[in-house]
């Protein structure tokens, strides 16, 4: 390993003399730090679009009858006279889901922080392949552009829900959005998957091969463990979605019948025979469920790091944390059927999936308890990143617990596809992962841009968001349990649900406030990028290697030799040391014992 590191140093000392043009530095950069920034900024822009869509939906649900000038302004021909079209509502549902799950919380979160932190925290000069890394980002960019473009298609964008179940998604005559809009969706996702796979392969190879001397797997920070396992799940599950998308493209364009059979629509029988939409559901959720953890695990990894640093305490139960990440990853690939209890599959399978699904609660509970214990008797530095991390644990618990109901096939019968589900997954993966993203940005902004974010704006951002997140999603459980289906354009055709309408209005008000307060974050982000206070090298007094690198970015990350690692990442407040942190590159003192992992 040592020799390896030396060779790298050698190479990179030469690397400095290469001329960098604007294009190679800012656009087609192969530097992982620049690519991380590109991912983050693209992710944030997609996030703004996704959140805006959710606000349009919320306004439609709360005030379905009244013409809305905002609809008229933003939706054009889809909102004649300010009344939203029913198809475009479903399109908003679909694209909001797609953008938030894939473009913001997969690429924006994992892409940003895996890229930034893997080389810096394991002590590598860069990713294993800088070129693939660059290609990965640009494919992501291309797929983002295509996804956004689909909104300008004549017959409307894809509108079959982010799960794009056929036959609805396969037949243009079933829905306007299933024409060119769906084609764009599928092409965009296929490119996205290619991007994601290139990224994941790179992360896995880098973590396995390029760790610096002394950085054994048991000394890896939990962030890296999370990114590593996430990449592995991605490699296992994303290709299955790609195959599903390809088969769907075949059904749509080449007349095959993988997912379609016995269809009579608009007065004619179609030729499809022998396929099954349930097959698509299996393929989709074989990615779809692991995807939840692809979104969540990096957020949990970031939280582990941020909580330990700011609690000035070792993360409690490092081994259990790693074990639970691995357990969650393994279980996540055998629970997909809980999305399909009432899909018509054999009820016996329902029993099996109930069993595996509720098992996943165990490693999740271990993680939650370990976070709480890490806070116990700490010296908590309540920086904005820390607040978002604590907020993550809170929403992870609140949202995770209702999974016990949804994972139970018998109970799922009556709450399946209601607002109860919407509340559950938004809290446990939406809000939690978003908090993880924010925690990461507040914590590593100095590493990315060499400047600090304004903490007071951070506090405003967190507290308003935290209150609104509960205000939006907590009451939503109740209207879900009342039997109100999700994805209804309006509930006014069901007098049965008239008594849920005031809850809908309340939720929308909270959502609008939450949307507005994100502007505070945006301001903070953009302003601090240029005018923020210049950072010290290690502002949070953290142990991990990225803070041993100079503030000014350079190719190869460290001038001279790569630091060697002598201890794990969590020697905070260790007795026998003057400071309350001991960076990983500090050798053990004479007689000092390293914790056995």
């Amino acid at each position: 390993m040592s020799a390896h590191a030396e060779i790298h140093t050698h190479e990179d000392n030469h690397g400095h003399h290469h001329k960098e043009t604007f294009v190679t530095k800012y656009i087609f950069s192969q530097d992982h730090k620049m690519i991380a920034k590109q991912y983050l900024i693209t992710g944030l822009i997609m996030g703004i679009i996704g959140i805006l869509m959710s606000l349009l939906m919320r306004m439609q649900i709360a005030w379905p009858e009244e013409p809305n000038v905002i609809f008229k302004a933003l939706l054009g021909k889809w909102a004649e006279g300010g009344v939203m079209d029913a198809d475009i509502y479903l399109a908003l549902v679909t694209i909001h889901g797609t953008i938030m799950v894939f473009f913001v919380l997969t690429a924006g979160l994992s892409g940003t922080f895996s890229n930034l932190l893997i080389p810096l925290q394991i002590g590598a000069r860069d990713m294993a392949s800088g070129f693939l890394n660059m290609v990965s980002y640009w494919l992501f960019f291309l797929s983002s552009v295509l996804m956004v473009c689909s909104f300008f298609v004549e017959a409307g964008p894809a509108a079959a829900g982010w799960t794009i179940y056929p036959p609805l998604s396969a037949l243009p005559m079933a829905q306007g959005g299933s024409g060119a809009g769906m084609t764009l969706w599928l092409v965009s996702m296929a490119i996205f998957i290619a991007s994601s796979l290139l990224g994941s392969l790179n992360y896995v190879v880098t973590v396995i091969n390029l760790r610096t001397k002394g950085m054994s797997m048991t000394r890896l920070p939990l962030t890296i463990w999370a990114f590593f396992i996430t990449a592995v799940i991605g490699i296992i599950s994303f290709p299955v979605l790609l195959s599903a998308a390809l088969l769907l493209i075949m059904d749509r364009s080449f007349g095959t019948s993988f997912f379609l059979s016995d269809i009579f629509i608009q007065g004619e029988v179609l030729h499809y025979q022998g396929g099954s939409p349930v097959l698509f559901e299996h393929l989709f959720w074989f990615l779809g469920h692991p995807e939840v953890y692809i979104v969540l695990l990096p957020a949990l990894g970031i939280t582990s790091e941020v909580i330990a640093t700011n609690a000035r305490k070792p993360i409690f139960g490092y081994r259990a944390m790693v074990a639970s990440i691995i357990a969650i990853a393994f279980l996540s690939t055998i629970v997909w059927g809980h999305h399909m209890f009432i899909s018509g599959m054999n009820p016996f399978l329902g029993s099996v999936f109930t069993f595996t699904t509720l098992l996943i609660a165990i490693p999740s509970a271990v993680k939650a308890f370990n976070y709480i214990t890490t806070l116990w008797k700490g010296n908590l530095q309540l920086n904005p990143a820390m607040l978002f991390s604590i907020g993550l644990v809170s929403t992870f618990i609140t949202g995770g617990l209702t999974g016990i109901i949804l994972g139970d096939s018998a109970l799922d019968i009556n709450v399946h596809d209601t607002y109860f589900v919407v509340a559950h997954f938004h809290l446990v993966m939406g809000i939690s992962a978003l908090y993880g993203l924010f925690a990461g940005v507040y914590h590593w902004f100095p590493k990315m841009f060499g400047r600090m974010l304004n903490k007071n704006l951070g506090y405003v951002h967190f507290w308003v968001t935290a209150v609104c997140a509960y205000g939006v999603f907590f009451p939503m459980h109740f209207i879900g349990m009342a039997g109100l289906p999700r994805r209804y354009y309006t509930n006014s055709n069901f007098p049965l649900f008239d008594d849920t309408q005031d809850v809908q209005v309340l939720i929308t008000v909270f959502a609008l406030v939450a949307g507005l307060v994100q502007l505070v974050f945006l301001y903070n982000f953009v302003h601090s990028m240029f005018y923020g206070k210049k950072t010290e090298q290690n502002p949070w007094r953290s142990n991990t290697l990225e803070w041993t690198a100079p503030v000014e970015h350079m190719h190869g990350n460290w001038p001279g030799k790569i630091p060697h690692v002598h201890r794990w990442a969590y020697d905070y407040s260790k007795p026998g040391h003057d400071d309350d942190f001991v960076p990983q590159n500090i050798p053990l003192k004479k007689g000092e014992e390293e914790l056995q992992h």
Binding site: K72, F264, K377, I397, F474, L595
Partner: protein, 356 residues
Amino acid sequence: MTALLTILILLGITIAIWQMVKIFDLTQTNRDTSQVANDKDNSINGYLMLGFLGFIYLITIISFVLWGDLPLVSNSASEHGPEIDRLMIISMAVIFAVQTITQFLLHYFAYKYKGEKGKKALFYADNDKLEFIWTIIPVIVLAGLIMYGLFTWNDIMIIDEEEDPLVIELYAQQFNWKARYAGQDNVLGEANVRLINLDNANILGLDESDPNAQDDIITTELHLPVGRPILFKMRSQDVLHSAYMPHFRAQMNCVPGMITQFAFTPTITTEEMRLNPEIYDKVSNINKIRNKKSKKLQAKGEEPLDRYEFDYLLLCNKICGKSHYNMQMKIIVETQDDYNSWLKEQRLFKNSLVQN
């Protein structure tokens, strides 16, 4: 023009917030240039953490007080319903307890151990005993819930053909429902969408030569006799739909190309349910809301809303296209006698065909 104006106004609001934030930002810079939390920040945010714990409890209590009557955990109208309700309430109780305790610990610790200069945290990295405890406790609790859940699930999903259930087909299409009764023989005639012939009104694609199909009855309202097990066979002609009958705690997807099934026994007639005091209150509350809305509508010169009367409903609960939000069918549970006389009035399939 209004569109442009709205965009300008939205832009204006954005800029206004931006500027306000900027002013706020500028007023801060002189006092504290370090952007790392100091003791004062820790103290304020520590207290806010405690306040936030209060907020979580408060929103829980408020939700239960204001909307506690919304969840469908009582007054189920099917035989298996109370079982689901009981399991739901037990699960909710477990969740409630865990939520209350863990949120307390999380936020209380965040307050209690808020940082102070010069304080040193406890170096406490591991405790196998603790890890074991909080692995094993969820295991035990979940084992109980899993067992209970699986028994309930099997009870609902395993259909006992010996009970002689009444066989009814639920037929879904964009964007309405139809029911097909099996008639005297209680056997549904063979059907496939390829046999649909709109010219002679064979709208569900029944095999016209199948003797079992002759006495089938197709309706647009679902009538069920109380106390008799019903076996639903679901079919869809175009896209996925889901037959959701929340009052009966029943749901199953309708999948083109295959027949899915679900069975339950209705236990309470529509009439009885309307007289149930809780349902009665719920309905009058809804009518109060509707009256208020009607007045607003009338002031604008529009038609007032109809009075709401309780009915069981079948809703579509799988996204199925433009009018998904209005795909419903009324369900009427009645006595066997009422059911028989209603059925007698319906036309048999063989008589419903149009002869050309």
